[in-house]
């Protein structure tokens, strides 16, 4: 009786352990399927025209996504210019200057902001910029993307600044320099890898964001025409072309997905490599 009970427990143990292994395997298999399909399928549609030509109007074959590639780079650059100073300074405030209560407040606000659905951020940017300026614009899209980047940068900056040992702060202050000099020339450089990692993570995130661009950047066939004019972006074009009935456009959507995925994966792997080296 007890022998059978023992056997039953042993087999049940094995079954459950195997099942949990299968769950991990399944998660990785799904990733492999998605990545593999997009990379293999997408690379076959990448060609010189795709990279160097502008989009053609409906019905004309050919054309490419030059304008959208440039548009995406402009939007990411604009968002970075707006978000990096805010995120970094907020991180410095929380780690080095804030009272515990203020630190908790800012940290809480940035956690909540990080959880706001990106489409809601898009509506916010529409209400405060697009409507008052009477035009969809690159600027409003940049602001929307920056709002998504800020909490990620602030949080990672704060965490890596706090990892800088207090003895470094004491040593800097003991040399007789002021606190702000100590922060800028000792503490921030000490946390630089962590800060850069956070910035890169936020870039990877906004590079593929589509929802906040729908009613801010809108999309445009003419390339960059200034910050106050609509602008095209890769993820927007993937969305429009994926839903289009034209095979040629669908192929371009795959090619664009390949390009975007490659960018995001490279950033992820680079981040992993940098933070792995730091821990080693």
């Amino acid at each position: 009786m007890s022998e059978r009970n023992h056997l039953r427990r042993k087999w049940f143990n094995r079954l459950m352990l195997v099942l949990s292994g299968c769950a991990a395997g399944l998660a990785i298999l799904i990733l492999a399927l998605i990545l593999g399909y997009i990379l293999v399928h997408g690379i076959s549609y990448i060609n010189l025209n795709f990279l160097t030509q502008a989009a053609k109007p409906v019905g004309e074959a050919g054309g490419g996504m030059r304008n959208e590639i440039i548009g995406s780079l402009i939007l990411i650059g604009l968002a970075s210019i707006l978000a990096i100073p805010v995120g970094l300074m907020a991180g410095i405030f929380v780690s080095d200057f804030a009272s515990p209560k203020m630190a908790a407040t800012v940290r809480f606000a940035s956690d909540i902001l990080a959880g706001v659905p990106s489409i809601v951020v898009g509506i916010f940017a529409y209400a405060i910029l697009v409507r008052p300026m009477h035009s969809f614009s690159a600027l409003s899209a940049g602001v929307a993307l920056a709002i998504i980047m800020v909490p990620i940068i602030a949080r990672t900056a704060e965490e890596s600044l706090r990892l800088v040992p207090n003895s470094m702060r004491e040593a800097a202050l003991a040399l007789g320099i002021t606190r702000w000099r100590a922060v800028l020339s000792v503490i921030v450089p000490g946390a630089l890898t962590g800060i850069i990692t956070g910035v890169m993570l936020s870039l990877a995130r906004v590079a593929g964001e589509t929802a906040p661009l729908l009613f801010t950047a809108l999309g445009s066939n003419f390339g960059y025409q200034g910050l106050t004019k609509p602008i095209g972006a890769l993820p927007l074009q993937i969305y429009h072309y994926a839903l289009s009935p034209y095979a040629d456009w669908q192929h371009q959507a795959w090619a664009a997905a390949f390009l975007l995925l490659l960018l995001v994966l490279c950033i992820s792997i680079l981040v992993r490599w940098i933070s792995g080296r730091r821990h080693a």
Binding site: G115, V116, A127, V150, A154, R179
Partner: protein, 323 residues
């Protein structure tokens, strides 16, 4: 601004000019960082205020009935949120139901079973799934997942069609497909947070259980999982929050029909996909306000869910730090 002892500021040197000058520079810099930090708080408050102002016409016109009505008639200006709310809750529930067992299994594997050389790469690969942009998952969903789901839905309909949720015509674009897409997108976050929660369980819990003669599974089931229960619930709720707000991938596979039906095979809509589809073309004031009110509902729900999840996950890490 007073510095407390914990941040180790040099004591101010009173009555000496260089001391005052040094304090002056520090004060400017610390106030500058404060201003930037307040930008984050201001954005959050601004979001709440602007959404409320923009949604005001719809709130005052429809009142609470907005949440219970299922009409969406643009020419007649009659708007109700029920089908969108229903779609959001339904697809998220499907996503969480499928994702939790897989994520929990993967997390148990990563912490309790995987050899240490395998842990890092496996975690990294699962987290990589979260890095794929939503619109790319949607593209894959249209051309790979939806055709793949059609025979599955047909099979379910043939064998379990007597249950209302498995009843109806099969298109491939459906609540079920959207739910499966959400599953893929929230597995990484649920796995990562559960993994950290399980890792935070002290080893003596496991050792005590093993010493009683329990098998490894019994140890996990009766000692480890109950100990980090609040963290696991937090992980699930964080996943749910992610699923509720997800826009692009869902919009691309759900079929975008505004209707209320128990069938999982039916095309439908969610709050975010309704907004994504119509906000750009909305012209009348009340139409826009109704869409913003939808966004406000979504914002409120995700806000609540994120706060609850944070509190649960925090409580666990606080326990760990105290022990």
């Amino acid at each position: 601004m007073e510095y407390d002892a914990a941040t180790m500021s040099p004591p101010p040197v009173k009555g000496r000019t260089f001391g005052r000058r040094r304090r002056f520079g520090d004060r400017i810099f610390s106030n500058l960082t404060l201003i930037f930090a307040l930008v984050i708080v201001a954005i959050l408050l601004g979001l709440v205020i602007v959404l409320n102002i923009e949604a005001a016409p719809s709130i005052s016109k429809f009142g609470i009935s907005f949440l219970g009505s299922s009409s969406w008639d643009v020419p007649k200006e009659s708007f109700g949120a029920l089908p969108a709310i229903y779609g959001t809750l339904l697809t998220s529930a499907i996503g969480v139901l499928i994702a939790v067992p897989i994520s929990l299994g993967a997390a148990i594997f990563l912490v309790e079973m995987a050899p240490s050389w395998l842990r890092g790469p496996c975690s990294f690969l699962i987290e990589m799934l979260a890095a794929i942009p939503s619109v790319i998952i949607g593209l894959w969903g249209i051309y790979v997942l939806a055709p793949f789901m059609t025979p599955i839905e047909r099979w379910l309909g043939g064998h379990l069609g007597f249950i209302p949720i498995f009843h109806g015509q099969v298109f491939g674009f459906s609540f079920l497909t959207a739910g499966v897409i959400l599953t893929l997108m929230i597995i990484p976050i649920i796995t990562a947070v559960s993994r950290d929660a399980i890792k935070a369980v002290p080893d003596h819990q496991r050792e005590a259980m093993l010493a009683l003669g329990a098998t490894r599974w019994e140890t996990i089931r009766r000692a480890v999982l109950p100990y980090c229960r609040s963290g696991l619930i937090g992980a699930t709720i964080l996943g749910l929050g992610r699923a509720l707000g997800e826009t692009m991938a869902v919009t691309m596979v759900i079929g975008n029909a505004y209707k209320l039906t128990p069938s999982l095979f039916s095309t439908g809509t969610t709050i975010s996909s309704k907004i994504a589809n119509e906000f750009g073309e909305a012209s009348s004031g009340l139409f826009i306000a109704s869409l913003v009110e939808l966004a406000l509902v979504l914002f409120g729900v995700t806000l609540l869910i994120n706060v609850v999840a944070r509190l649960l996950v925090w409580r666990l890490t606080a326990v760990k730090e105290a022990s």
